[in-house]
């Protein structure tokens, strides 16, 4: 089955390189910033909003391939996944612990 293989093809990697550098702050999450569909994703959205930084969100629930590929791309098994300046910053716990509220 598809699960046995990495979803991260070279083409998808190139695309993700572009996506994570397209904005200073990019959040891959469950739902959207207007309507988060998971408490952990919502927590990170609220932190970013409270900091008044512009950020882009991508809903991984709408794209199963993206969801699987990102786990390999970030070397991180869960969502949300926060990228700052094109670099993986962390998930919810790290964001809560490191970004000032």
């Amino acid at each position: 089955s598809l699960r046995c293989f990495s979803a991260l093809t070279p083409e998808l990697k190139t695309t993700l390189d572009k996506v994570v550098t397209s904005h200073k702050v990019v959040l891959f999450m469950k739902g959207t910033k207007e309507f988060p569909q998971c408490g952990f994703s919502n927590t990170v959205v609220q932190i970013l909003k409270s900091l008044n930084v512009p950020f882009e969100t991508l809903n991984i629930l709408e794209n199963e391939l993206l969801r699987q590929a990102l786990k390999d791309y970030s070397n991180w098994p869960t969502f949300p996944q926060l990228y700052i300046d094109g670099e993986f910053f962390g998930g919810c716990d790290i964001t809560v612990g490191k970004l000032p509220l």
Binding site: F40, P77, F88, G91, C92, D93, I94
Partner: protein, 93 residues
């Protein structure tokens, strides 16, 4: 049926050799979500992101079934002792 608390503890114990480990099943019994507090010498010299990655990969098999994993603490033994000390406020009585 998801993962048991005991399974999470066993994997972390064998792979991380923790001096302190606390696993809490926050799923209400279905084994889908856990909170972890872990103290290990293996975290020495590692950044927080790297520490969390170590925990995630120690639980790689379990993560396939775990819906949410919250790593509350990933400390070195020295940091853990320091934290315990600062929490020991003198009692008022």
């Amino acid at each position: 049926m998801g993962v048991t608390k005991e399974k999470v503890e066993a994997s972390l114990t064998s792979k991380m050799n923790p001096s302190h480990l606390e696993v809490i099943d926050t799923s209400g019994g279905c084994g889908a979500s856990f909170v972890v507090e872990i103290v290990s010498e293996q975290f020495e010299g590692k950044r927080l992101l790297e520490r969390h990655r170590m925990v995630n990969s120690a639980l790689a098999d379990e993560m396939k079934e775990i819906h949410a994993l919250s790593i509350k603490k990933a400390l070195t033994p020295a940091q853990w002792d320091q934290q315990k000390e600062s929490n020991n406020t003198p009692s008022a009585s």
